[in-house]
């Protein structure tokens, strides 16, 4: 079977990152220095090869980019300064736009003005609704609560599930990965393990602190989501729920602030080349945690009645987060990565079957 070549692939992917991958002389140092590579899951050199040769089909069928947690070892030791770590990040951004059936992810990744216009439109929408409801506190907060709920349902069913299915098609169905039913069941286990723990980061050197920060943000974020949406944090009288909300909200904004600082200082290899989407993701997550925390604090101290603008800001942040960042931005990495790791296990299982058959 021959492969179709896309000579513009390298130009296309350069829109998602900032390095000179033509410098690579294919020594394989990056693959071998990485703690996460294993037989059947080889990267990043293979991806650079696909990129240089314009093998788009090959690149899109791989799950390897999601196995990388960007510790930066490959980039630090690359003898050509070809920056393979940033390549993996760029390919992840590019894959996000390829999985997305709406095409909006591609638009927002490539065009900062489009992203900003999107944010402004959502903000206008939120304040318009506030205006329509006369800024009646109860009505607006009731609406906000409903919005959260329906946003989750619709983003999930209309965007995320179809995109995951597309990813499944590109990476498993189309390359004809022949895995047993048993390995699918195992794959579900890995899916949830990695989704909630990102445990593989610990295999990378010197990543324990980053993993812990990341884990606390994820747990804080998911906790906050459950507490505000399903336990109605802003409306409840239950002391336990209120305190849990404070803890999770605090976790989110304190640890995103730490991550934000390290991105600003570029102290880690992963933080050296930030794209607008990276900034929006971390800043909005920070603002969401902070405003949620303050809203509940204002409720408890009775300040919210006179400072209702705070809730409007929170709602705006939340809407922008839910409508733009979650379905089309960096948030999806969280989802795709977990699925990719479980697809990778399917592929490995299929490979083992093949090897065993050959033997």
């Amino acid at each position: 079977m021959s492969t179709r070549v896309n000579p513009n692939l390298i130009k296309e992917i350069k829109k998602f990152g900032a390095s000179d991958w033509n410098a690579c002389f294919h020594c394989g140092n990056c693959t071998a220095v990485c703690n996460l590579t294993e037989e059947g899951v080889l990267f990043p050199r293979k991806e650079i090869r696909a990129l240089q040769m314009g093998l788009e089909d090959k690149l899109i069928s791989g799950v390897e980019p999601w196995v990388c947690y960007y510790c930066g070892d490959c980039t630090e030791t690359c003898p050509r300064d070809a920056n393979p770590g940033e390549l993996m990040m760029s390919v992840r951004r590019w894959l996000t736009t390829k999985y997305d059936w709406t095409g909006l992810a591609g638009l927002f990744y490539k065009s900062l003005p489009a992203l900003i216009i999107g944010f402004i439109l959502v903000a206008i929408g939120v304040f318009a609704i506030g205006f329509v409801k006369d800024f009646n506190h109860e009505a607006v907060m009731h609406f906000g609560h409903k919005l959260e709920f329906w946003l989750i349902i619709s983003v999930f069913t209309l965007i995320l599930v179809p995109n995951i299915l597309r990813m499944f098609y590109f990476t498993v169905i189309k390359p004809k990965v022949n895995a047993s039913f048993r390995s699918y069941i195992d794959a579900v286990g890995t899916l949830f393990l990695h989704m909630f723990t990102q445990i593989k980061t610990l295999k990378c050197d010197k990543q324990t602190v980053r993993w812990l920060e990341h884990l606390l943000v994820v747990l804080g974020y998911l906790g906050l989501l459950v507490i505000t949406v399903f336990l109605d944090w802003f409306g409840t009288e239950n002391k336990i729920i209120i305190y849990l909300g404070y803890i999770t909200g605090g976790l989110v904004f304190i640890f995103t602030a730490l991550l934000l600082f390290s991105r600003l200082n570029k102290e880690r290899e992963v933080n050296k080349y930030s794209q607008p989407t990276d900034w929006f993701f971390i800043i909005w997550l920070f603002l969401m945690g902070l405003t949620a925390f303050l809203v509940r604090l204002f409720i408890d101290t009775g300040l919210l009645a006179n400072h209702f603008w705070l809730y409007m800001v929170h709602l705006m942040i939340l809407a922008q987060w839910g409508i733009l960042i979650v379905p089309f931005g960096k948030w999806t990495h969280f989802l795709y990565r977990s699925f990719a790791l479980s697809f990778a296990n399917l592929k490995k299982a299929a490979l083992n079957v093949k090897v065993a058959a050959a033997a």
Binding site: F25, H26, C27, G28, N29, C30, T31, A32, V33, T37, E38, E39, L42, R45, K46, T77, C78, P79, R80, D81
Partner: protein, 598 residues
Amino acid sequence: MGEKELTGIYFCQLSNGHPDALNISELAEYAKGFEGVPVVWHSGDFLLSDADHIAARIKENNLSRIVIAGDTPGMVKTFFTKAMAKAGKNPGNVILAGFKEHGANTMIRMNLAKGVLYCAVLGVPFEAATVPGETPVNTETMVIGGGIAGIQASLEIADGNQKVYLVERTATIGGHMAMFDKTFPTLDCAACILTPKMVEVGQHPNIELMTYCEVIGVTGGPGDYTVKILKKARRVNLATCIGCGQCTEVCPRKAPSEFDAGTTLRKAIYIPFPQAVPNKYVIDADNCTYVENGKCGVCVKKCPVEGCIDLDEKDQEVEIKIGNIIVATGFQIFDPKRVENFGYGKYPNILTSLEFERVINAAGPTEGNITFRTQDKKGNWIFTKESGSPKSVAIVHCVGSRDENYNKHCSRVCCMYSLKLAHLVKEKLPDTEVHEYYIDMRAFGKGYEEFYNRIKKEGVHIIRGRTAKIEEKDGKLIVRNEDILANRLVEQEVDMVILSVGLEPREDAAELSKMLGIAVNEDGWFTEANYNTDSTNTFVGGVTIAGVCQGPKDIPDTVAQGAAAASRVLQSILNKKVKGSIKELSLENIEEQAKQLK
């Protein structure tokens, strides 16, 4: 020619603001003063790919010639030949004025750069217009460095019946070649080729051998240099030492042997190796108990020759007057401790290639047996004959070479010497598996490709992929690679790893270059007068370079360059005069010479 020819100048680079870099604006100002040059363009004035636009500008100024000026101007030449053809002019009239190519790439060479430009506009070869004046030459010559390049150059000149001072920093001549076991691709014994030459140097009536000496100052000019030399205290009288070795027997102190690349120990009073020239003892002051605290002197008591050992000898400075200088200072090997992932210095059985050369050498610490590095009673990690042999060996190419983090250049010899080492392992231990990991296999010389094929047939596993890390697990070394051609990740368990370390300029090469007024390139190697056509002369009259100090090269090339450098010196001696320095030529002088050639 009826009509006057007009020339346009295009600067293919801009001033980069660095104070040492050529100021292009100054050059452009200078060029504007030329006759018949109506236009001076700069990089960025127009799109080079827009041939129609350039052609229009050529026609508009009625140019019949174009000069492209800058470093490597050939890179953009085709754009202008195309445009000239489109403009209906002779596309052959695109002339290059390369600054870097003529050694004029820094501000202190502004005169040369202007000269390059002037000659290009006039259509005169730069080399022809920059013939420096000549001065009478002192027929005596100094060679710095007693490796194979310096030895060859000294012998050529001395055999031409001229006096040579051979200045060598260590206590013996021989250099790195003396440490090698075999040469590639012929597998000759290196010592068997080299030691007769060393002996010849030692006995030659025309060679004054100055070992344990260092050049510390050079004054004067081409043909008449005065060189200040530091004669380090050897503490053993070269004239009276009979080399009996009784001193070394009684000496209580030991230190790693430099000649054996630290694979074994020697005494504080020692002969570097049995075939050393001069074959006389030397005292390592850094490890001598007497020098440390004045309480020892057993060697003096034991020495049968009265007054031969003088433990209180001091360094001296001497001066020699010579006409020509040949620089043959060689290289140092890359220190693999700098690559943390390789674990050199942490795991005992990771060796540098130079250490391995000594281990496998019949005159080395193990008498040629490949054994493990073990700790002796005093805690020194050394090789002994008894410590067992490896069942598997990995050879890692390109250590410190072709790497943006260390040395960017290819060291040129490592691929071939690695193949040679693989062969030597197979020869001594046929059942031992040898795994070689390379990035690109550079078998570039006469008989080299054939040698590579031969090694492959011997059953060495030659794997494409750069080693990323080496770790120790249960007493075995794990070498981690991607096998590029098989698309697999390889974790190879071996008993011993040889790191094929690259060559790099000596630490103090830059210091010497300042002393002599010669230049170094971005990698630190000495700069030759012309990359293609004159690889031994420099821009300084009477100073030639030979061997690896000019750039990595193998033994045959080094010998050839040593002989070439000697021929330059002999030429000047036969002519009884030496050419001055091109870099000293004034711009007026270059302009004058160019006009005369026109």
